[in-house]
C-alpha cells in the first residue's frame, strides 16, 4: 500500500512541474548528473511477504513460506540492489558526444536449490521421509564497488569498469550430494561442497579482491522501418580474489544416527564419527574468474506515439535465469510516457511490469515497477523497482 501511495502521488503531481516547461531556455547542456537506484527481490516459489519478513524481521507464518511443491523441483531466489551516481560531461555544443564517469555499488545474493532443501530448513523434516538432492544447489553473495569511466558517442559508448570487491561468496555442491531421510532417525549424508569466501576488511581502499572490466554499448536505427536495436555489455572482464580467500572444500559421506555414547558423556574418548572439519580453511591461493557481467539486447519499433520493444538480458556468474521481455511505451503530448511489459526469467519467471517516465529540458525521471503483482506481497513472488533521475546542467 505504501508503494502504491508513493506511485500515485508521483504520477498525479508530475503535471504540476510540467506547467513551467516553456519558460526553460533552450541552451546546450554542459553536463548531466545521473543517479539511479535498482532494487529487486524475487523467487520462483516464495511470496514477497517472505522477503519482507527476512529483511524487516517478524514471524514467518505457514502461508508466507510459499506453496508446497515436489521436493525435487528446482527453485531460485535472489535479492539485489544497484546504486549509481555519476556525471555525463558533454563536448562543447554537443549533447551527443562526451565522457561519462560514475560510482556504483552493487549488492546481490541469490541461491538455486531444490524445494526439499528449503523445506528442511523452514519446515523441518517431518514430511521429508525421502532423499533430498543438494547436487544442484549453488549460491552467491557479492558486494562490489565499481567505478565506470569512458566515452560516449551518438550510437556508441565504451569504457572501463574498475572494481573493488568488498565481499564475494560463491558456493556449489557436488552433483551427487544428498541427504537421505528415508529413515527419519538415520540420516545418510553425501556432501562435497566447494565454497569460497572473501570477506570485507577494515581498509577503506585496499580490499581482498579487485576486478577490471569493459563497458560497451552500441545502438542503431533502421530509418526505413523505424526499428532501433541496442546491444549493451556491462563489466565484461576478470575478477581477482587475491587476499584472505577462505574455502570449504571436502568430500565426505556419513550416516548420522545421533551422537555416540562417548560423545555425549565424555566417559571414554573414542574417535569421532564425523571426522571432517567443517571450518573454513584459509587459503593462500588466488581465485581468478570472470566478472558477473551483463549482456542486454533490445529492439524498439516506433509506431507514432507507441513504442514496441522486446529484448533479452543475461547475467554471468549468478543464479539469475536469462530474462526475455517485450512490451510497449506510450508517449503522450505532455512529456509523460508510460508503458507496460511482460517478462520471463530472473529470480522469478513471469512478471508484469509497468513504467513511467517524465522528460523536460533539464529533468529526466523514470520509475519502473518490475512486477505489479508484487505490490500485493502475499500474492506476488517478486518485486523490483528502478528509479532513474538525471539533471542537465546548462
Amino acid at each position: 500500500m505504501k508503494y502504491l501511495t508513493i506511485l500515485f502521488l508521483i504520477i498525479t503531481q508530475l503535471d504540476c512541474y510540467s506547467l513551467n516547461r516553456d519558460t526553460i531556455s533552450k541552451k546546450t547542456a554542459k553536463a548531466e548528473l545521473i543517479s539511479s537506484f535498482y532494487g529487486s527481490v524475487g523467487s520462483t516459489h516464495l511470496p514477497v511477504n517472505f522477503f519482507n519478513k527476512i529483511y524487516f524481521g517478524g514471524y514467518i507464518d505457514e502461508s508466507e513460506k510459499g506453496n508446497s511443491f515436489l521436493i525435487a523441483k528446482n527453485q531460485r531466489s535472489g535479492f539485489e540492489t544497484d546504486m549509481k551516481f555519476g556525471v555525463n560531461i558533454y563536448n562543447e555544443n554537443d549533447e551527443l558526444n562526451g565522457w561519462y564517469f560514475s560510482i556504483q555499488n552493487k549488492i546481490s545474493t541469490a541461491g538455486k536449490y531444490q524445494q526439499g532443501l528449503y523445506d528442511l530448513i523452514f519446515r523441518g523434516n517431518k514430511d521429508l521421509n525421502q532423499q533430498i538432492s543438494i547436487g544442484n544447489t549453488n549460491f552467491h553473495f557479492r558486494n562490489h564497488q565499481l567505478i565506470n569511466l569512458g566515452k560516449f558517442y551518438e550510437n556508441f559508448s565504451f569504457g572501463l569498469v574498475i572494481g573493488n570487491i568488498l565481499q564475494e561468496y560463491n558456493g556449489c555442491f557436488g552433483e551427487n550430494d544428498l541427504i537421505d531421510f528415508n529413515n527419519y532417525y538415520n540420516w545418510n549424508v553425501v556432501i562435497n561442497p566447494n565454497i569460497s569466501f572473501v570477506r570485507n576488511n577494515n581498509n577503506t581502499f585496499l580490499k581482498n579482491g579487485n576486478s577490471l572490466g569493459l563497458n560497451f554499448k552500441m545502438k542503431n536505427k533502421f530509418k526505413t522501418t523505424n526499428l532501433e536495436y541496442e546491444i549493451e555489455l556491462k563489466n565484461l572482464g576478470l575478477m581477482l580474489l587475491h587476499s584472505n580467500v577462505e574455502t570449504i572444500n571436502y568430500d565426505t559421506s556419513f550416516t548420522y544416527a545421533g551422537f555416540s555414547f562417548d560423545q555425549i558423556t565424555n566417559i571414554t574418548n573414542f574417535s569421532s564419527e564425523i571426522s571432517t572439519s567443517f571450518q573454513p580453511d584459509s587459503s593462500t591461493n588466488r581465485i581468478i574468474s570472470t566478472t558477473p557481467f551483463e549482456v542486454k539486447f533490445n529492439v524498439v519499433k516506433s509506431l507514432n506515439n507507441l513504442e514496441l520493444f522486446a529484448g533479452i538480458f543475461y547475467r554471468n556468474n549468478s543464479q539469475y535465469l536469462p530474462k526475455s521481455y517485450f512490451g510497449f511505451n506510450f508517449r503522450n503530448e505532455r512529456k509523460l510516457n508510460y508503458g507496460s511489459n511482460l517478462s520471463y526469467g530472473g529470480y522469478n519467471k513471469f512478471q508484469w511490469g509497468i513504467n513511467t517516465s517524465y522528460h523536460t529540458e533539464k529533468l529526466n525521471a523514470q520509475i519502473v515497477l518490475q512486477n505489479c503483482i508484487g505490490l500485493i506481497p502475499s500474492l506476488g513472488r517478486s518485486f523490483g523497482i528502478v528509479l532513474n533521475l538525471n539533471w542537465k546542467i546548462r
Binding site: G57, K65, G124, D262, I267
Partner: protein, 518 residues
C-alpha cells in the same frame, strides 16, 4: 497543493524506515536422532584388562593400580652442590706488565666436600644439571678463566671444561654451565665421599686494549649455584631416613555411586611392594582408611600396623632384580571387599618408611636409579560375576542448546535392547529437582537361566513427553541430573557377564520448535 504532496511523500518514506529490526522467526518440526550406540564392557574397560574364566562362563577384570612411589626424592632434598672458589693472584705477579693473550703459568685447585646429611655418595649421575655462576673480580682488566671439573665425566669419559671470563674491568659477570649427562666421581681417588675438585688456569684476555698489571691482593671469586638438576642415578650409602607421611588417593568417579548392596564373587586384591632401590627398608602401614561422604572406615588386615621388612634390589650388571613383597587381601582375611562395595571416593594410607634401618649394611654400595623406584601397587582381580541391589549412579550432564531455537513441545523416544543381567531405571531431573519423566524410564534386564547366564535380549521402548513449562527450564538450565538405578534380576545369584553382551540403544526426538534469527 504541490507542497502538501511533497511533504506527504517524504513523511510516508520516512515512516517506512524501521529504526529497530525485529528478529526473523519461523516454526519447524524436526525428527532428530539424538544418540545411538552399542555399549558393552569394552566401552568402559580396555579389552586387555578383561580375561575369560577357565570355564569360559564369565570375564574377570584384572588390573594393577599404582598407589605410591618413592624414587629420587629420598636423596633429592639432601643433594646440595653449591660452592664458591676463590683465586688469589700470587703477589709475585704484581707489578709486572702482561700483554693481552698471555697465559699465566699457574694452576689453581680447590677441593669441596659436601654434606648430604646421612648420605655418603661415591657417584652421582645427572640427567640434567645446570649451574648458575657469578664471577667477581678486583682486577682492572678482563681475565679468561679455564675451569676444569676433574671429577666430572661426560658419556665418552672426558672431563668437564669451560671458559669463563671476568668483566672487562672490576665488577661482576654471570653465566650458566651445562653439565647435562655428566657423571661425578665423588671419591677423591677412593679416599673420600661427597667430594668435587676444581682446577683453574687464567690468562690475560685478548680483548684488553693494553697490557695488564696485577696489583697486590688482586683476587677472583666464582660462586656456583645449582639452577636445576635431575639425578639419573646415585651410588654410595643412601643414608638412614625415617619418612612418615599420609598418601591420599582420590577416586572422583566414585562420588557418583551408591548402593544398597554390591557383591562380587571371589574377588582378590593384592598389595604389591616392589623395591627397585638398592637399600633395605622397613614399611609400616599405620592405617588405611576408606572415605565415603565424610565417613571413614578402616581396613582390617594382619599387615596393618606391622613392620614389614623390604629387601634391597639387586643390580647384577647383566640383570636387574626387584625385591618383591606381596600381601593378599580377600574375603577371608580382610574386610576389603566390603570396603570396595561402599564405592570409596578417597583412600588414605598413613605409613612409615625407614630406609637402611640397620645402617650401612652394603658397605657404600647402595644404589638408586631414576627408572627403578620403590612402589606400592594394588592388583585387583574382580570376576564379573556379581549381584547388584540398587546401585545408584548420579551425575550432572551439561549441555548447551542453541539459544535461538525455542522448543515448543518435544517427544523423546527411547529404544533399548538389553543383553545384560541388569535392570536400569533412569530419572531425569531439572536443577530445581523437578522430574522430567513422571515415572522412571526403565530398561528391563535380559532373560537369564537358573545359573544367571544370559539367554535372550529384552527390548524396552519408552516415550517421554516434555511439557512446555519443563522445556523452558530445561533450555535455560543447561544442566540436567541423571539418576540411574541398577539392579540384578534377583538377590540369590551371582550373574556372569561376557564380552559379547551388548546394550543397544537409540534416543530420538520429535521436536516442534521456533527458530529465531537476529
Amino acid at each position: 497543493m504541490k507542497n502538501i504532496y511533497f511533504i506527504l511523500i517524504v513523511a510516508i518514506i520516512f515512516s517506512g524506515c524501521k529504526k529497530n529490526r525485529n528478529s526473523v522467526s519461523w516454526n519447524t518440526f524436526y525428527k532428530l536422532p539424538i544418540s545411538s550406540d552399542t555399549l558393552n564392557l569394552n566401552t568402559f574397560i580396555n579389552q586387555d584388562k578383561l580375561y575369560l574364566s577357565d570355564d569360559e562362563t564369565y570375564l574377570s577384570f584384572k588390573d594393577t593400580f599404582e598407589m605410591y612411589k618413592l624414587g629420587m626424592d629420598i636423596i633429592d632434598q639432601s643433594i646440595q652442590l653449591d660452592f664458591t672458589d676463590s683465586i688469589k693472584i700470587p703477589s709475585i705477579l704484581s707489578g709486572i706488565q702482561f700483554s693481552p693473550g698471555f697465559q699465566i703459568p699457574y694452576q689453581f685447585t680447590e677441593s669441596h666436600f659436601f654434606n648430604f646429611n646421612s648420605t655418603q655418595l661415591k657417584e652421582l649421575h645427572f640427567d640434567s644439571l645446570i649451574f648458575d655462576y657469578t664471577v667477581e673480580s678486583s682486577i682492572d682488566g678482563k681475565i679468561d678463566i679455564n675451569l676444569s671439573l676433574l671429577d666430572a665425566f661426560n658419556p665418552v669419559g672426558n672431563n668437564f671444561n669451560a671458559l669463563i671470563s671476568t668483566p672487562i674491568s672490576q665488577g661482576v659477570s654471570t653465566g650458566k654451565l651445562n653439565l647435562n649427562g655428566f657423571k661425578f666421581d665423588l671419591t677423591k681417588n677412593g679416599t673420600a665421599f661427597n667430594h668435587i675438585s676444581t682446577l683453574f688456569t687464567i690468562g690475560i684476555s685478548s680483548e684488553n686494549l693494553q697490557d695488564l698489571v696485577f696489583q697486590n691482593n688482586d683476587y677472583i671469586t666464582i660462586k656456583f649455584e645449582i639452577s636445576s638438576l635431575k639425578i639419573a642415578s646415585a651410588l654410595g650409602y643412601l643414608g638412614n631416613e625415617d619418612i612418615v607421611d599420609t598418601t591420599e588417593i582420590k577416586i572422583p568417579f566414585m562420588e557418583n555411586l551408591n548402593s544398597k548392596n554390591f557383591e562380587i564373587n571371589d574377588s582378590e586384591f593384592e598389595l604389591l611392594i616392589k623395591n627397585g632401590i638398592g637399600i633395605d627398608a622397613q614399611l609400616k602401614l599405620n592405617k588405611i582408611e576408606f572415605k565415603k561422604e565424610n565417613q571413614f572406615q578402616a581396613l582390617d588386615h594382619l599387615s596393618v600396623n606391622q613392620n614389614m621388612n623390604i629387601n634391597r634390589a639387586l643390580d647384577l650388571g647383566y640383570d636387574f632384580q626387584y625385591s618383591m613383597l606381596n600381601i593378599n587381601f580377600n574375603n577371608s582375611n580382610s574386610n576389603l571387599p566390603q570396603l570396595i562395595s561402599m564405592f570409596p571416593e578417597q583412600i588414605n594410607i598413613d605409613y612409615q618408611l625407614i630406609t637402611n634401618p640397620l645402617g650401612n649394611q652394603s658397605g657404600y654400595n647402595d644404589f638408586i636409579f631414576q627408572q627403578h623406584p620403590l612402589s606400592l601397587d594394588i592388583s585387583v582381580d574382580i570376576p564379573l560375576k556379581q549381584n547388584l541391589d540398587s546401585i545408584i549412579f548420579i551425575d550432572t550432564l551439561n549441555y548447551e542448546l542453541q539459544k535461538n531455537i525455542v522448543v515448543s513441545d518435544a517427544l523423546i523416544k527411547l529404544d533399548f535392547t538389553n543383553e545384560f543381567p541388569w535392570k536400569l531405571c533412569a530419572n531425569l531431573k531439572l536443577m530445581s529437582g523437578e522430574n522430567i519423566n513422571s515415572s522412571p524410564i526403565c530398561i528391563n534386564h535380559c532373560q537369564v537361566d537358573n545359573l544367571g547366564n544370559f539367554t535372550q535380549a529384552i527390548n524396552s521402548v519408552n516415550e517421554v513427553d516434555l511439557e512446555n513449562d519443563l522445556l523452558i527450564e530445561f533450555q535455560n538450565d543447561n544442566k540436567i541430573i541423571l539418576e540411574l538405578i541398577i539392579s540384578s534380576p534377583d538377590s540369590s545369584n551371582y550373574f556372569p557377564i561376557l564380552g559379547n553382551q551388548n546394550l543397544y540403544y537409540s534416543i530420538n526426538m520429535d521436536v516442534n520448535s521456533k527458530i529465531n534469527l537476529n
